[in-house]
Amino acid sequence: MSDNALTPGIVAGRLDPQHLAENFTDLHPALDDHEALVAADRCYFCHDAPCITACPTDIDIPLFIRQIATGTPEAAARTILSQNILGGMCARVCPTETLCEEACVREAAEGKPVLIGRLQRYATDTLIAQGVHPFTRAAPTGRRIAVVGAGPAGLACAHRLAMHGHDVTLYDGRAKPGGLNEFGIAAYKSTDSFAAREVDWLMQIGGITLETGKRLGREVSLAGLREDFDAVFLGIGLGGVNALGLNGEDREGMRDAVDFIADLRQAGDLARLPIGRDVVVIGGGMTAVDAAVQARLLGALNVSLVYRRGRDRMNASRYEQDLATSKGVRIITNATPIAVHGNGAVREVEFEYTDDDLNPTGQRFRLAADQVFKAIGQTLEGAELPDLEGRKIAVTGAGRTSLPGVWAGGDCAAGGDDLTVTAVAQGRDAAEDIHASLTGRAS
């Protein structure tokens, strides 16, 4: 036990460096050759395979697994990447238990799906490690397109447009590209700077000029982009966060979970990253789970994740809920925060139990907290955007917005699942639509 393990408050170095390193290694370690062959062998090469239908990017899963089984993981990677250029990241972060692997017929047969995600990683890692970028650009079209946001949606869109021979300028408000791949995904899902390496590899296609530190609404305007470019794609994600609307929300120790995670992802040395002893996370999605789990992995002694509805309504999959509990996170459901207590800094959060329709029951309890992470959803930020539907950009077809020549996709666009893989699918499909409309092949 390190000196700081029991120290109250928000302090660094609760765990020794070796312990930390162990905690933050790959959640699902890479398959070695033997494991990959054994796993690939289990695929039945189903007809009109249900796993393909379940993949938002429609990767030809049976084909790529067969290519692994026959000793050509490079060809398998091509099969994957031709549908999903961020197939490497998706292999790491997709909630496969609710996507391809849930649909796998061997899940039905034995409750043990083919390890599609890990096989996908095996194939893409092999090709990326060889430094091979398997795509080339078509003849230049002379068309110029602005892509705003270098997250999964923007990257997928930019790559596909560049492949079709268009010139792309890729703007991002942050100093680094990657979006939530770089700043949001749990550290144990993207180890060894994979997010950054993947972006470098993706950019090898050529024809994409990256402009970081350029924010729409600050350095660039949508009107200006529409003027200067033949088309604009918005993949700006959800930059804002929802507030709890409680008194004391600004007390010291209260933080947005996404900011905590971004700090963690960018931390050079996790031993120097401060974390509370008693941590409370409010929310029920992937962000909440990731914040809670990583707080535990950093050495927080008590971590509670509190969600206002029942377990079955949590956005985090059952698998992720179980991951959280296996790491020692306590999940409390049907409880709504009603007050933040403390004197300057937060000391306790008070909750009231609610029924499934969120009606208060009158039963209250308090949790000790020296750090509270709010993870109750992100929101779209920005002025002069196209028309909204609800709180996101309204789109029809492959991401067409209310403004001519402007497309949108990923988390900022209405109707998605807020997953990396759906962002990739939408970015890719918007690129195809932009390409078709610029080359006069629009439907």
Binding site: F45, L63, T70, T72
Partner: protein, 434 residues
């Protein structure tokens, strides 16, 4: 991606993967879908004479054997040639070839052994625009009892005779499909060559009974309590087919005769192996019947990656590359000494190598009380059995001994120079080294 364009006896296909004559190629609907999936060519399901078509059984036609996880390894069938009218097949072939001019379409034929019957059918199929004909001398059941199929293929004189008639009455390239149900495959191959055939294709299916129902005592597939021997195919027959292809490719009498390799081709690797042993292209049946037409995509991507990796300019550079390395046993180098090596990092300590070697081979593997398995070099004859039974690929390897080292088993120095049985002192009939 390498260009897989293949020229086989003057017939160009976008890739060397043809569907063999069988149910996958029995009708227009299938063949169109096969071409859409990417197959380079098809050999249409065997056509018979005009008139009432043959009839098939109305019960199960197939039997199978499986590997672990119910992986289909061998399939057996009692199906006959096409049971649809000749006219219907011919019209369909014509339409398909018209719409898919870049793909190969071969007509497979089986009619009684008389010149008129062959002349008649050849004239009719020529009209379809097909790229060539394949003479089915291989079907081992149903048709052979009628004096066709393997009943012809087992008599080299008939094979040569029919090949000759076909060359005489048609300008189409002629491929003779050989039956493996014969002692020496080179005999019918030579007869085909001498009859003027442009190529041989092999193998057709092997006589077989896949299993017996132990309650009804009927062989499978069972038709009303009885079973007939059928034709065996699929991954299980590949080694037999590879050997037969190699025999034809390396025999001086048949060397150079183009070969279309058939039998158990399931992946690009299988295809590449057939081609390395001399096949100019391959044909596939069971793999398509097991997994559907889409498997050709893996074959195409795998073979092109391999051709690229090897730096070959085309598939032609692969064809026959392994043939010079197929020799007779007495030509193998007896001075080559290897020893099994177990990678302790990879070993999962199952003990299968130990059981195999201790019980049935040379007692050359040691097992320590804590289950560490090591090879005893002074006992190991390098038989390879442990490699074959080890469940972990690459865990046991065969390492050649360097010249000059002492083989602890024989106490002799490993010699660099080549020496085979023909000159070995133990060989009573040895010839003196020149």
């Amino acid at each position: 991606m390498a260009d897989l364009t293949t020229n086989f006896i003057g017939i160009t296909s976008p890739n060397p993967f043809w569907l063999a004559s069988a149910p996958p190629t029995d009708k227009e609907y299938n063949v169109r879908r096969a071409f859409e999936a990417g197959w380079g060519g098809v050999v249409w399901k065997t056509l018979g004479e005009a008139g009432p078509p043959v009839v098939n059984v109305n019960g199960p036609r197939y039997g199978a054997i499986y590997g672990a996880d119910r992986r289909l390894l061998g399939l057996n069938n009692i199906e006959l040639i096409t049971d649809r009218p000749l006219e219907v097949n011919l019209e369909e072939m014509k339409r398909v070839k018209r719409d898919w001019p870049d793909r190969t379409l071969i007509a497979s034929l089986m009619v009684p052994v008389n010149e008129d019957a062959w002349r008649e059918i050849l004239h009719r199929v020529e009209d379809t625009g097909c790229d060539g004909v394949e003479l089915n001398f291989g079907c081992p059941h149903g048709m052979s009892e009628r004096g066709m199929g393997s009943a012809v293929g087992q008599v080299p004189e008939y094979v040569g005779q029919v090949a000759h008639w076909c060359k005489k009455h048609s300008s189409l390239p002629v491929i003779v499909k050989l039956t493996p149900n014969i002692t020496d495959i080179r005999k019918p191959a030579l007869a085909a060559k001498e009859g003027g055939a442009d190529a041989v294709s092999l193998i057709n299916t092997i006589n077989s009974i896949t299993s017996v129902d132990l309650d009804s005592f009927s062989p499978e597939p069972s038709i009303d309590g009885k079973g007939a021997h059928g034709g065996y195919c699929g991954p299980a027959v590949k080694p037999i087919a590879l050997n037969m292809v190699a025999e034809i490719a390396r025999d001086p009498a048949t060397r150079g005769l183009p070969i279309s390799g058939i039998g158990g081709v399931t992946t690009w690797r299988d295809a590449a192996e057939f081609m390395a042993l001399g096949a100019g292209n391959v044909q596939v049946c069971t793999a398509a019947m097991t997994y559907g037409f889409r498997i050709v995509q893996e074959m195409i991507s795998g073979l092109s990656q391999y051709i690229d990796d090897k730096g070959f300019a085309s598939v032609d550079q692969l064809v026959g590359r392994a043939v010079p390395n197929v020799v007779n046993w007495q030509d193998l180098n007896l001075n080559y000494v290897a020893k099994a090596r177990i990678s302790q990092d990879d070993c999962i300590k199952c003990g299968r190598c130990y059981a195999a070697c201790e019980d049935t081979s040379h007692q050359a593997i040691a097992m320590s009380p804590d289950r560490v398995f090591t090879v005893k070099d002074d006992e190991c004859v390098a038989c390879n059995l442990c490699v074959n039974v080890c469940p972990v690929e690459g865990c046991i390897t065969m390492e050649p001994m360097a010249a000059g080292a002492v083989d602890p088993r024989t106490g002799e120095v490993v010699r660099r120079e080549y020496a085979n049985w023909t000159t070995h002192p133990n060989n009573p009939g040895r010839c003196a080294a020149e």
